[in-house]
């Protein structure tokens, strides 16, 4: 599936436990490896865990499961706490 990279900007990123992470702000390319390295995600959901004042995070491409109308990534316990209040 071939896509223009500008179509990814602004997509919502969710984990496979249906937790909202943020919106795609930018894409990091690995020029030597000729592949996508990571998605830079901004507008972070403040409830996913310790953000320590960071405005964004990079989601490595290997944890991305699927890209369509949204971006679906693997849920990593310990990084994404889930949106339920504990």
């Amino acid at each position: 599936m071939k896509t223009q990279i500008t179509e990814l900007f602004g997509l919502s990123v969710y984990t496979d436990k249906a937790v909202f992470v943020g919106n795609v702000d930018d894409i990091v390319l690995d020029v030597d490896g000729k592949k996508i390295d990571a998605l830079a995600v901004g507008n972070l959901n403040p409830e996913i865990g310790e953000l320590k004042g960071y405005k964004g995070m990079q989601i490595p491409f290997r944890i991305i499961k699927s890209v369509g109308d949204i971006v679906l990534i693997r849920h990593i316990a310990g990084v994404f706490k889930g949106s339920k209040k504990e």
């Binding site: 071939k2 896509t3 930018d26 390319l29 020029v31 592949k35 996508i36």
Partner: protein, 85 residues
């Protein structure tokens, strides 16, 4: 490893390694299944002869394979440039 943000690339000039100005980058085609970067979409410069290149209207496709380096310019290999992906 040489990494770059996409938004950094906007409006960068594409130049071949023999010093010819090819054009300005418009977009990038990626394969989301594998994560591979497939093509650059380039708006060719008026002085550049696009005969023999893959074209779509006034846009030109440059295989990402041909990209040597990205700093202030995007430098592409002039031999790999014509190869169709």
């Amino acid at each position: 490893m040489n990494k770059t943000f996409c938004r950094n690339l906007a409006k960068k000039k594409v130049m071949s390694n023999d010093g010819m100005l090819i054009g300005t980058i418009k977009n990038i085609i990626v394969d989301l299944g594998t994560g591979q970067v497939v093509d650059l979409i380039v708006k060719p410069d008026d002085t550049f002869n696009t005969d023999g290149f893959r074209m779509d209207g006034d846009k030109m496709f440059v295989p990402f394979e041909a990209v040597k380096d990205i700093k202030d310019y995007i430098v592409v290999d002039r031999y790999l440039l014509r190869k169709s992906a």
